[in-house]
């Protein structure tokens, strides 16, 4: 598009000011989703605000409370390889490892990815399962939302115009385990369905599903059942049923809504068995 203005601010503040002043402008992170949409002629932005090179958005660092903050511009490749994402946080790195392909993981970012609100994306259910917090800023203020609140609907997050994700915070993790089960037609595909499961060794379990609704699917009832009986087939089955009751899967080219409903308890059981076995091995 020869008319597109590309802004390359050096600081977060400058980026946020640009977004405030140009309501039609789109922020561009890794570009893997946005440039594909532009190439497909589905969007012809008049202005782009590039977040590349803004130091405040980069890096993975420990936070004072013992948790981890992942800067919004952190590439999937780095999240996938991050050693500190272990134990109950392991589903986040495992989810990152399953995104698309290595070259796309070299480019795509956590902030860009979650801002898209793609119902089939991998990081959203993993972040819900670990109870992540999303840090958001606009030109005037910052705020935080839980991952559960952040993903709202089909390609819709809680981001308001002019807002950017600045970081994803993961809570301090005790020991435990996690896993990310993903069913795809071929490697690198968007999931047909996925299950992110995070379990602390004290017994708290949290599960979230991808590809089974407009946003990650989760259920306190399911989490309670999994927490009580991760290794108990009846509890896991009941948890699967609870998730199935709140899931809102759709038909798409990868599979039918009905198939996804069938998969939920089956894939959850597989994830639970895997997590249970991992805990046993660690013990």
């Amino acid at each position: 598009m020869s008319d597109t203005v590309l802004h390359r601010p050096a600081t977060l503040h400058a980026a946020l000011e640009l977004l405030a002043d140009n309501p039609d402008a789109h922020a561009i992170a890794g570009g893997v989703s946005l440039v594909a949409i532009i190439n497909a002629q589905l969007l012809a932005p008049t202005a782009l605000v590039s977040l590349r090179g803004i130091g405040e958005l980069e890096g993975i660092r420990a936070t004072p409370d013992g948790g981890i903050a992942i800067g919004a511009m952190t590439r999937h490749r780095a999240v996938a390889a991050e050693a500190r994402l272990r134990g109950p946080l392991g589903c986040v790195s495992e989810a990152a490892r399953s995104i698309a392909s290595p070259p796309v993981r070299n480019m795509g970012t956590i902030g860009g990815s979650i801002s898209l609100g793609d119902p089939g994306a991998d990081l959203p259910p993993a972040l819900v399962a670990v109870d992540a917090t999303i840090e958001i800023a606009n030109a005037r203020r910052t705020r935080r939302l839980s991952a559960r609140e952040f993903f709202v609907d089909w390609y819709t997050t809680a981001l308001e115009p002019g807002e950017l994700v600045t970081a994803v915070r993961l809570p301090a993790s005790e020991s435990g385990t996690a896993c990310y089960e993903k069913l795809v037609r071929v490697a690198g595909d968007i999931c047909i369905a996925s299950v992110a499961l995070s379990v602390s060794s004290s017994g708290t379990a949290r599960a979230a599903l991808g590809g089974c609704g407009p946003a990650p699917v989760f259920s306190d009832e399911a989490d309670a059942l999994l927490s009580r009986g991760l290794g108990d087939a009846a509890s896991v089955q009941a948890a699967g049923a609870a998730l199935g009751r709140v899931a809102k899967p759709m038909d798409d080219v990868r599979g039918s809504a009905d198939y996804r409903r069938m998969l939920i308890p089956r894939m959850l059981a597989r994830a639970a068995a895997r997590a249970f076995a991992q805990l046993e091995r660690a013990a």
């Binding site: 497909a40 071929v186 069938m262």
Partner: protein
């Protein structure tokens, strides 16, 4: 001797350096860029266009619509297609208008400003709807269209064909076991990595030069000239490097439209389809419903087979009549049935046209046929290989319809695949406790190469080096290399000393095209004959130079002719050629041309109605074994290992043959398991690589073993037969048989997606792997 050697391809080096030039890389001075507007309607009358806004848009130099092309039609079998939609549109995505502008972005923007007034017609989206009484008709004038055969077209019936040998109806009562099932095979997208494209330029004399991604410069020429009413002498067609074809680039795609834009604008115009347009505008593998009925005796003798095929042809006939007839002729499989009856129809529907795709209907029909043979083996308790051995065709016998089978390596293929796969020792049943079931399955096939017309010209340049010109397009399968090897072997030269001229309708002899597995045999035979013609002329010269009889002479390595038994007495090609050029005889030009003319149907043996072909017929054979693993939690199936034994007569270049077999296997695996075009009404719902998936490295087993078998074909160049398609034919069938082995469930619909397999597992009785 270069035949049989794994020589590197002549075009490989440039492809590893990034220097190979494909149509997207070809540029001409002053070139414009073009984009196409596709129809949003599945079926509608075009009432008019308003181009005002589009013509005024920045950079726009020309716009063409159906108003710019004559009422002339092209089509390989039934001439039912205009160069661009004219008067009506018949599928979503059908090109309706095209723009040439200074930049691609400008052309695309202008397309969005074109207004087309449509009057919607009812759309028929399946053969059943299309054939229903009162259905809206796509081609009202179908009866009047020019056709190359008796197609029987009327209403939405595009063509019908039947073949029958023996009396099937009388045979069923003699069978101990009769199976009858409907099978459904789906559409597949070729998805060559290079989208289709063309570049047309008109010279000062009004002559058009047209480069395009194609599988035949001569089919391009015919299609463009027929649809635009141009004499063929006014159009020169050339070929850059091609990024894969698989059938998508054999018949017309954007070439007629590109020529229209070049003629209208007076400037060179390049049109490369975007990937979504490539999915939506060109062609797909035929969706097919196939009824298979197979009868056998308890001792394993196959007695009778009946096959009924309904092909969804989409909006235009394209290669459909050929695909139908080929499926029907091959539905007997390589077996000695007493009676075979095969009949079918191609039906017009308001969807993207179906056309040629590797296998040409075999993957669809064999999905049913080879499962039947497998099921018969199961029910009578016979090993599937042994059942096939009991009934297999042999050399010297005749194929269904009457074609002579003059070479047959099927037995060796089966032995090799059986042995390599460890079939006899295979473990039955899988590891059900880990939620995964394993199974093995096999299938056999035959394919036909050799058809239609081809030629070769071999010229000796002044210095004795050689130029080979066949008009055959190398689409990546390696024909330039293979034909060069044949020529070099015939003249006892190093293949590196043979220059391969690119296909050019101005300079190349006619070659029907790179399709139907035909180039190695059909063109190779011409190359060999033309080389022999060169040999003869060279020997005539040498006989005069050496003052001996022609009969005393032999070719020598490295380009020379000498007196047999007298090592010192020889004359080089160089000296021969100089003499020919400057003193006596004239430049040495070897030539050969032929058309395969043995009819495929012998009226004394078989009855044929609506036979569109075309003589065709030397037979390659193959046997495939696969080992699969089915995930019982999700239904997802993967191939763990595969063995594909193929009788290619003679592997001129074994590495090239393996490349074809390996690639065909994976393309067939994709078709069987994950590739699925999804229609939402008349619109393709997944015309992108994000949404239509082919196997990646991680989905493909490393252990795909190709076993080359050589049962030489008489009259073939060094015995060689075709190898391009046979590797895909029974991959879906073998995988289906393997999944049945693993789960106990039979599948009559493709693809064996994880959803389909899981549903089948859950509804099957527990003892058949269900739960």
């Amino acid at each position: 001797m270069s035949v049989g050697r794994r020589l590197p391809r002549v075009d490989a080096r440039e492809k590893t350096d990034g220097r190979a030039r494909y149509i997207g890389d070809v540029e001409r001075p002053g070139m414009l860029h073009a984009a196409i507007l596709g129809s949003g309607c599945a079926h509608a009358i075009i009432e008019g266009y308003d181009l005002t806004e589009a013509l005024a848009a920045p950079g726009v130099r020309a716009i063409v619509t159906g108003d710019d092309c004559p009422d002339a039609r092209m089509g390989a079998f039934i001439k039912d297609e205009h160069a661009i939609a004219k008067g009506k549109v018949r599928y979503v995505g059908e090109p309706v208008a095209a723009v040439a502008a200074d930049t691609l972005a400008q052309a695309q923007a202008a397309c969005r400003l074109i207004q087309v007034r449509y009057r919607d017609l009812a759309a028929v989206l399946t053969p059943t709807e299309a054939l229903a009484p009162g259905a809206c008709i796509l081609h009202e004038d179908v009866a009047a269209y020019e056709k190359v055969f008796d197609a029987g077209s009327h209403g939405n019936l595009c063509s019908r064909t039947s073949y029958a040998e023996g009396d099937v109806d009388a045979s069923w009562p003699e069978c101990d076991l009769v199976l009858e099932d409907w099978f459904e095979a789906h559409a597949q997208a070729h998805d060559a990595l290079e989208p289709v494209g063309a570049l047309a330029e008109v010279d000062a004399n009004g002559r058009v030069t047209l480069w395009s991604a194609n599988q035949s410069v001569f089919r391009v020429q015919a299609n463009v000239c027929e649809s635009l009413d141009l004499p063929m002498s006014r159009l020169r067609c050339l070929t850059p490097r091609i990024g894969g074809g698989f059938g998508n680039k054999m018949e017309a795609h954007v070439q007629p439209i590109t020529v229209m834009l070049a003629l209208k604008s007076g400037r060179p115009v390049r049109l490369i389809l975007t990937r979504p347009d490539d999915f939506e505008m060109v062609r797909v593998r035929h969706p097919a419903r196939v009824r298979v009925k197979t009868g056998a005796k308890r001792d394993g003798t196959l007695v009778a087979r009946e096959v009924e095929v309904i092909l969804d042809g989409g909006a235009y006939a394209d290669d459909s009549p050929g695909v139908l007839s080929f499926m029907l002729r091959m539905c007997s499989g390589p077996y000695r049935f007493r009676a075979v009856k095969a009949h079918g129809k191609v039906v017009y529907t308001n969807k993207l046209r179906s056309g040629a795709f590797r296998g040409f209907g075999q993957p669809q029909v064999q999905f049913g046929c080879e499962q039947h043979v497998d099921e018969i083996a199961k029910r009578i308790g016979m090993d599937p290989f042994d059942l096939r051995r009991r009934n297999q065709k042999q050399a010297g016998e005749r194929w269904f319809g009457g074609q002579d089978v003059r070479s047959c390596g099927l037995a060796q293929c089966m032995d090799a695949a059986e042995r390599a796969s460890g079939w006899r020792n295979r473990r039955r049943g899988g590891k059900a406790d880990e939620g995964r079931l394993r199974g093995m399955g096999m299938a056999v096939t035959a394919h036909i190469s050799a058809t239609l017309a081809t030629g070769a010209i071999v010229r000796m340049l002044e210095d004795g080096s050689i130029v080979l010109n066949t008009g055959a397009t190398d689409i990546g399968q390696g024909s330039d290399t293979v034909l060069g090897q044949i020529c070099a072997a015939a003249l006892r030269l190093d293949p590196r000393d043979i220059a391969i001229a690119g296909p050019d309708t101005d300079g190349s002899p006619y070659n029907w095209g790179t399709t139907a597995s035909r180039v190695t045999y059909t063109t190779g035979r011409s190359v060999q004959a033309a080389a022999r013609d060169v040999e003869r002329q060279a020997k005539e010269q040498a006989a005069e130079i050496l003052e001996c009889s022609i009969d005393d002479l032999e070719l020598r390595e490295g380009g020379a002719v000498g007196i047999a038994g007298v090592p010192g007495k020889q004359v080089t090609f160089r000296d021969i050629s100089r003499r020919a050029h400057w003193r006596r005889g004239g430049p040495i030009i070897g030539r050969h041309s032929w058309v395969f003319d043995k009819p495929s149907i012998d009226p004394k043996r078989a009855v044929a109605i609506g036979n569109p072909s075309n003589a065709a017929g030397v037979f390659s054979f193959g046997a495939v074994v696969v080992e699969v693993e089915v995930d019982t939690v999700t239904g997802k199936t993967r191939v763990l290992r595969a063995w594909s034994a193929v009788d290619v007569g003679k592997a001129i270049n074994p590495a090239a043959v393996e490349g074809q077999i390996e690639g065909a296997f994976v393309q067939g695996m994709g078709y069987a398991l994950v590739e699925e075009l999804v229609w939402d009404g008349g619109r393709l719902a997944n015309p992108t690589l994000m949404d239509y998936k082919i196997p990646t490295f991680r989905d493909t087993p490393y252990d795909i073993e190709t076993i080359i078998v050589e049962a030489p074909e008489p009259d073939a160049p060094f015995g060689a037969k075709g190898a391009g398609e046979i590797g895909i034919n029974v991959v879906a069938a073998a995988i289906a048989n393997a999944v049945t082995d693993a789960t106990g469930v039979r599948f009559t619909k493709l693809p064996l997606s994880s959803e389909r397999v899981l549903r089948a597992l859950l509804s099957a009785p527990a003892d058949k792997g269900g739960r």
